[in-house]
Symmetry: C2
Subunit: 342 residues, 2 copies
Amino acid sequence: MNLKQLSAKLQLSQTTVSRALNDYPEVNEATRVRVKRAASKFNYQPNIRATSLATGRAKAIGHIIPINSSEVFNPIFAEFIAGASQAYSKRGYELLLTTTESNTEESVYRTIASKGSVDGVIVHAPRFKDSRISLLQELNLPFVIHGRDYSNTGDYSWIDINNRQSFYQATKLLIDLGHTRISLINGVETLNFARRRLMGFTKAMTDAQLTLDQNILFNGDLTEANGYHAATKALAFKNPPTAFLVSSYMSALGVRRAIHNANLQMGVDVSVIIHDDELSYFHNTGDVPQFTATRSSVMEAGMLAAEMLLSIIDKPETAPLTKLLEARLTIGASTGPNRSDT
Amino acid sequence: MNLKQLSAKLQLSQTTVSRALNDYPEVNEATRVRVKRAASKFNYQPNIRATSLATGRAKAIGHIIPINSSEVFNPIFAEFIAGASQAYSKRGYELLLTTTESNTEESVYRTIASKGSVDGVIVHAPRFKDSRISLLQELNLPFVIHGRDYSNTGDYSWIDINNRQSFYQATKLLIDLGHTRISLINGVETLNFARRRLMGFTKAMTDAQLTLDQNILFNGDLTEANGYHAATKALAFKNPPTAFLVSSYMSALGVRRAIHNANLQMGVDVSVIIHDDELSYFHNTGDVPQFTATRSSVMEAGMLAAEMLLSIIDKPETAPLTKLLEARLTIGASTGPNRSDT
DNA sequence: GTGAAAGCGCTAACAA
DNA sequence: TTGTTAGCGCTTTCAC
């Protein structure tokens, strides 16, 4: 069923039907009701391609996910996108997903812009001095960054968690529990969040006058394998860490595996703390430090980002929007480095 | 830059330019070259909305992800979609992502179909007696199921792993290592994969004349929390399992956490085995049974599914395509129920 | 308050 | 081998 058919059925012009459906004020209330009733009766849905061609608005938002051969699709991105998707459908927008390897990145953005298939994009995983920001500004394509480029003080919209603060808090918590040797399993150094997380970690350690041991600070793709290897290495030292602060689920899985092995084989005993996503979603680690979190925090961030972007698209002249999400730690039961003390 | 402008620059009709760009045989080779050169020079990209309006083909595929409030966006789906996305862009297709809660499911499919924004869809997480299959057939929208509905012997296309066989193999492996009490952490019962996995598990146990203990068989959303609670419960029995077979990454994270706690507190000693995704992606569990896997297996499946769907769209009269992916287990070092034996 | 007609950017008959 | 024309399904002037 298309407009033509619907208006034929109603004995009205396409124009009137279109206006009625789009809530133009001038149409007679009676006809509007009649039209809307018929539309839902026949399950009429305007063809979004035709609409977008006529209006020049794609009614779609692009999400461009960087992937590389070692790291899986970051589950946090997936969660974030799920949240965004809900916001889009509420507003009648579609979500276009594109993946890109780093070498094709710029061309992917350029193509998307010139194809006109989206009205804006969400940029994931910003890097330090990320070239995508100026590229998008040049292309004049509205965007919101999921994260931030701290090296760029220019005007752009972003939504981010307070990586520094959340890692500061988490580290401080471990320190307060008595841990002095804490291993940090972090993302690759070029990613902004990893830099900020390190800063928070470092500050907490320094504040407590603890020295950093570079041997138990790790950077890399946030994979299960990397988590495993890093933790295994850390635990093999004669002086192993008593706690881990981990930057992702995936790594955490590997870290737990390594700890399991170490427990079994060497009797090594650690308390683990896992930082799990960009919204300071801390995992409940059982009887070791306990944090509450809901998965929905990530989805919420996705929704927020989507709404930010849509409002920018609606009113292009608005100043850049930014949103900093604070860490949400809730401390439950706690365990120090030496369990037998508790 | 659009067709009109480009053809003006070239002093050719839009038709000719269009034909040259789309490799119609009749155009003069010289003009084709000239046109293509100009197109790339001006970075001309056809407006996909206009194209799709003119051709009646959306040049887009929809992925519809079921989400619910407790389970996060399944990372396997994310990975699968990343693979599919690559296949689409190679063929000039876009990927439209939609999320749906179970109560709105049917209307989401209907809306997608009537909006005409996709040429086909991939259905994730099929259930037993899934109504979506007949719905899509009725809507006449090409589709491929990621998974299968075993209750439906009708003609439809799917790609699936051999859930039954892989869980059979995994269970048998654990049995061969000497385990007799194995806990199964599985997805919700209405999902096909969970049913099949249980079948494989059951068969291996029965073949070995081991009795199933319903107390250590769990069904539920594949979340970290559920994994934790299930494993904690299992480990609290006076006669705890010596091995776990787990249906997902997320649950595995919880299971490991529970084991960690149990190791610390009760000296409970388990070997873990984790089944991790729908492609029999088995995690290396360190010094306990070791399986090789690459993340790309899931992406590959996504690519395959995408290619299947595109070929169905190209030739709608082809018979349904199906693809069964076999489990890929590789046994490395192994550990029986009583580590001290090894 | 409603309708006729043009046009968004492209493709596809039909001509030439 | 190229061009003219109509039309995909919608919105949007401009009339009435």
